[in-house]
């Protein structure tokens, strides 16, 4: 022990070594393996990987129209889910942080967290039931004389927005809690009306936290393939292309190439986010 005591650097190394190793090998190593696999090719009949360097997978990815369509659709869905979540989460978080009494606040916090304890599949299948013929959504639409959207992109966006809502509420709530009440009172004392206070005090404070929440909703949607299989009708997202290429086509190199798309999109998104300073609020 005493040797360790005398060598602080060795001590630090032993302390940080294992977690860094885990991060490096298991996490970044897996990402590197993914990228390397994308540069290999595969025998179309037996499905065995052939270790020859080629850019074929990326060529297919960029030259075949359907993959561009799917990538854009996926990004669109992710953006839409993020916007909807931000719009829905903000009033809820504001009410929780600034209006509700402590008892009610605790109750609301539990209520927001509660859905996270239920299985993803249960929630997705619940929405499948609601969007089915004669389900809650379609009967509500029929009651006002409209046709239900049924299974499709609308159902996918609604389901994903529901699934990821807690990940948006919590950061915004945490951000608003940090905002001192005295600031709001000062604004009122200086003659600011509610809307003015909201626009000039609350919103600027909360933006980095909305961005922090959007990292969750955006990235979770980019990688999702289950919800769209359950409520998405005939639609497919990037995750489905990856899944189909691993599971049914047995084409690991191409699946790896497709999987780099959300990684690149996410890296770009994080680079933009870093400028807003939202990384510090995570």
């Amino acid at each position: 022990m005493s040797t360790l005591h005398r060598h602080p650097k060795a001590r630090l190394g032993l302390l940080l070594g294992p977690p860094m190793l885990w991060l490096g090998v298991a996490y970044l190593g897996a990402l590197a393996a993914l990228f390397v696999t994308a540069l290999w090719t595969q025998n179309g009949f037996t499905g065995l990987i052939e270790r020859q360097w080629t850019l074929d997978s990326f060529r297919t990815l960029f030259t075949v129209d359907v993959y561009r369509t799917i990538a854009l659709r996926t990004i669109g869905v992710a953006a839409l889910v993020t916007v909807i979540d931000a719009l829905v989460a903000f009033p809820i978080a504001l009410y929780m942080a600034k209006v509700a009494r402590p008892g009610l606040r605790r109750f609301l916090l539990v209520a927001v967290l509660m859905p996270l304890w239920a299985s993803y599949l249960v929630k997705a299948y619940a929405w499948r039931g609601m969007f089915s013929e004669g389900g809650l959504v379609s009967s509500a639409f029929e009651a006002v004389g409209l046709k239900s959207p049924g299974y499709g992109l609308t159902a996918t966006v609604v389901t994903l927005a529901y699934l990821w809502l807690p990940y948006m509420i919590l950061p915004i709530y945490a951000g608003l809690e940090r905002l001192p009440d005295s600031l709001l009172e000062a604004s009122a004392d200086l003659g600011g009306r509610s809307l003015q206070t909201l626009r000039r005090i609350i919103l600027p404070t909360v933006v980095p936290f909305v961005v922090a929440g959007s990292i969750f909703t955006f990235s979770l949607t980019l990688g999702d393939y289950i919800a769209v299989r359950i409520v998405g009708g005939t639609n497919q997202l990037l995750g489905n292309v990856v899944y189909d290429n691993v599971g049914s086509a047995n084409n690991l190199p191409f699946a790896a190439a497709v999987a780099t798309v959300p990684v690149v999109v996410m890296l770009g998104y994080l680079a933009v986010v870093r400028r807003t300073g939202a990384m510090e609020s995570l």
């Binding site: 595969q42 009949f45 065995l48 369509t69 299974y151």
Partner: protein
């Protein structure tokens, strides 16, 4: 490193095999795949049966290896364990492609492979030839199932036939009138059931479109829905792209299809008999038919992994699963025709074999069994290259858009 180079040489071998010998003019269209398609890796079959190793790992379609955990009355695994002392673990898969992926891990001793998986497993060296002399019940298998292109290569069996069935057309009798007799109901752009049609979510479904074109557009000259040259293939893909506007959703999980028919989101589409049985059991008014254009279907084979350490148990299992009792139980539970004619006397429903046309060679010939499309045309043509399965997979993504 040794492992790596072995895998590489295996891959090279398979590639060589795939592009090496070309079809030749040998035999009928059906035979081309088995005889002229490729040369499989050189693996030895078992020459003598020893005592069981005490355990067996089974990779099977859902419903093919039931141990009573889904339904206490449905159990043909436990009697096998008691008889042979081989403790069975079962893993199920949902598509043929998943089966091929799982077999590559080498963790499973036996697999129930459909025709669109079996040839790939043989060419990839994942399964070895089977010595049918060591399987007493093999003698009772229907002759028309033996030595077929999807379960044998150059006259050597690579497994034992398990059973066969057809992909049927199912519809809700209260929503679809009159009763359809043609696949046109799911392919015609003017179908009155637009938005409530369902289709199987797998590249192999392209064959269903090709089969429909075979009957409706004879000038395309399609002779076998699994042997499509570029022009024929594009026609089938175009048909499926136009079909997409009719589709409510694609299915690969059979319970999802049952639910879609129950709620009415789907009212017509392709199905398996077992799905119709489950739906009828839940009082959903559905009916199935064999449309005039014919049907695609499956004919399954139990195969032994080349890397299996429990080959004796594997042979005992293959003998058990095609025994009259077990074969009857599986066929009835899954809803297909048994491979062993003696099974017909053992089914609980005495009409089972009649319902599924078991042993009716003429009916069985009418089914286009799932086969892996390869570059060498399966219909015997040598003047053109056919589209292979990787093209089918890519096209399937494009069809779904």
């Amino acid at each position: 490193m040794k492992k790596l180079s072995m895998a590489a040489s295996l891959a090279a071998l398979a590639l060589l095999a795939a592009c090496g010998t070309s079809g030749g003019s040998g035999g009928s269209a059906d035979q081309a795949a088995g005889t002229g398609g490729f040369t499989p890796p050189n693996l030895k079959k078992l020459d003598k049966l020893g005592t069981g190793e005490g355990k067996l790992s089974v990779l099977a379609w859902p419903g093919y290896a039931e141990d009573g955990s889904n339904d206490p009355k449905v159990d043909w695994v436990t009697p096998f364990e008691k008889q042979t002392g081989c403790q069975v673990t079962v893993k199920t898969f949902g598509t043929s492609d998943e089966a091929v992926t799982l077999m590559k891990t080498g963790q499973y001793d036996v697999v129930s492979a459909s025709g669109d998986a079996s040839l790939r497993l043989i060419a990839g060296g994942q399964v070895e030839p089977v010595n049918t002399d060591l399987i007493p019940n093999y003698a009772d298998i229907y002759p028309f199932l033996k030595n077929r292109p999807w379960n044998s290569v150059q006259g050597q069996m690579y497994g034992v036939p398990h059973g066969y069935g057809a992909n049927l057309l199912m519809w809700r009798t209260d929503k679809v009138k009159p009763a359809p007799t043609s696949w046109g109901a799911v392919f015609d752009p003017n179908s009155p059931y637009k938005g409530a049609v369902t289709a199987y979510d797998s590249p192999i479904y392209i064959a269903d479109a090709a089969m429909y074109l075979m009957a409706t557009k004879p000038d395309l000259g399609i002779k076998n829905p699994y042997a499509l040259d570029d022009k024929q293939f594009n026609a089938a893909v175009d048909l499926l792209k136009s079909q997409k506007t009719l589709i409510s959703e694609y299915w690969s999980d059979y319970l999802k299809e049952v639910q879609a028919f129950t709620s009415g989101n789907s009212v017509i589409g392709t199905t398996w008999q077992v799905i119709a049985n489950v739906a009828s059991g839940e009082k959903v008014p559905v009916q199935v038919t064999v449309p005039t254009e014919g049907v695609t279907g499956w004919s399954d084979t139990w195969m032994v992994s080349a890397t299996s350490k429990n080959k004796n148990c594997a042979y005992l299992w293959m003998n058990h699963i095609i025994s009259p009792e077990a074969n009857a139980a599986v066929a009835e539970y899954f809803g297909e025709s048994p491979a062993n004619g003696k099974a017909c006397a053992k089914t609980a429903d005495k009409n089972h074999c009649a319902t599924y046309h078991a042993g009716d060679a003429a009916y069985a010939e009418k089914i286009w069994y799932w086969t892996t499309p390869i570059e060498q045309c399966l219909d015997g043509r040598t003047d053109v290259k056919c589209t292979d399965y990787s093209k089918w997979t890519q096209a399937w993504t494009q069809i779904k858009g």
